[in-house]
Symmetry: C2
Subunit: 251 residues, 2 copies
DNA sequence: CGGGCACTTGAATCATCTCAAGGTTTGTGG
DNA sequence: CCACAAACCTTGAGATGATTCAAGTGCCCG
């Protein structure tokens, strides 16, 4: 009895069917039988520490990854060593989709804090999707979402001011935290000012100044990486007209 | 005999198997039998004139579209009426992929000149893909490419100067024309200075000045919307380090 | 031929960047 | 547990590239 318990416990602990991220992740919309078949493909490598790489630009695409805990940034490097951050990835989000085009990763993904992932071997996922329309449709859906999200990011960089960019960014992070059951009002940013600046197309100093300004105006309370949204209405105003706040959570 | 000829002619003219864009478009990599099954789904609506809409933001996603001729821009509108251009679409490229996330178009697509498309009803495409793994993989590949392309656009807006942005944009357009069998050295832009400016996150005046500067420096010859690349090497330099020129075509 | 639209060019302004210095937290080794 | 170094963040002042506002040109279409 102890033996089965010892064997089963990790399996149950990590099963997709028990995962709190199910609704945000690949298995969303799958029935139990299909989820079990997907489950059998999933590997769960050891957790990564801050700064470790999940994959690197130029690597052959072997697996897709879903974030289980912690967070990642993905970025491209220019040959001059500069990096451009393409996005941040929270639990439940998939990484590596851009590699589907030609089977090669176009970006590097590194952990922002201690983080764990589920890895799904891409060829076997594709095989399984060939036989499970529901999984296949879910894959399409996720890729479509991802394209839509990248397009939002494009709009952000378009012609917005520093304040609009930072406000939009914070609202975006806030609603992603809320989706995962965390507070939309108060959260810890896992990325540095430099990372935020790079992502938003600004300098570190401008981001810092903008945080200070929003704090002075009573919109935020900022304590290093801990952010509290004091006046969500004014933050939304600061984000500019084109932002439509989907979640009005105030938890 | 005349009769069959009259009936068959348009069918042959428009068949995927005869289309010069096959290698850039959805049927790429499909065998003849599969291509024929895809072909049966494809509708070819009347051509659109400059300014006409292929679909609008908020429309239910009914079809995916592939550009046959002409070109499109896709853009989002803020509630204040402003528009942000997300991309330009040349023949062989697919439109509407971002809608896969939630079945609704997130952008508006309008014709930049007289343009024609192939329309593939999305539900029937999905059904067919469920039975044809090769089509399904091709769909994944195209979506992956699209994500990768959007990410390149993101890098462009990151922290580059006006000259770097415009140079990168022109090299990008140039290689896309080359892929389609047109000259990489000399081409007509189908979009206005305003559209380019909007896409690049600049003002119309800055784009105009930058064109003038590149012409004065002997890098380009610019005659209204006709562009000739005189010194590709220096244009690549102007685009900045992080751009890697995939096509070295000089046709 | 004339009116309108797209584009060019100039001059002044402004937001952000750059450079520079100082402060605070974190982690490490003594 | 303390001291020190490194990393991270904040703030200020001056420089700069892009924007704004404004005027003028030339091409295209009716």
């Amino acid at each position: 009895m102890q033996k089965t318990k010892l064997i089963d416990f990790p399996a149950i602990k990590t099963a997709c069917s028990k995962c709190s991220l199910q609704q945000l992740c690949l298995p969303q919309g799958l029935n139990n039988a299909d989820m079990e078949r997907l489950e059998r493909l999933v590997k769960r490598p050891r957790p990564l520490h801050r700064g470790e790489y999940l994959f690197c630009q130029g690597d052959r695409l072997k697996s897709l990854y879903a974030v289980r805990s912690g967070s990642f940034k993905s970025y491209c490097l220019g040959e001059d060593g500069s990096e451009k951050i393409l996005g941040f990835h929270l639990p439940g989000e998939l990484l590596g989709l851009a590699g589907l085009g030609d089977g090669e990763h176009h970006a590097t993904a590194s952990a922002l804090d201690t983080a764990s992932v589920c890895a799904v071997p891409f060829d076997r996922l594709q095989e399984l999707a060939d036989h499970l329309p529901s999984l296949n449709h879910q894959l399409h859906r996720i890729m479509g979402q991802r394209i839509a999200r990248d397009q939002e990011a494009l709009m952000l960089l378009g012609d917005k001011s520093a304040q609009e960019r930072l406000a939009t960014f914070l609202l975006n992070i806030s609603s992603r935290f809320a989706e995962r059951g965390f507070s939309a009002r108060e959260f810890n940013l896992s990325m540095s000012r430099q990372d935020i600046a790079n992502y938003l197309g600004l300098t570190l100093e401008t981001v810092s100044r903008t945080f200070s300004q929003l704090q002075k105006d009573g919109v935020l309370e900022v304590d290093r990486r801990l952010i509290r949204i004091v006046d969500r209405g004014r933050l939304t105003d600061a984000a500019g007209a084109s932002f439509t706040d989907t979640s009005s959570a105030t938890r």
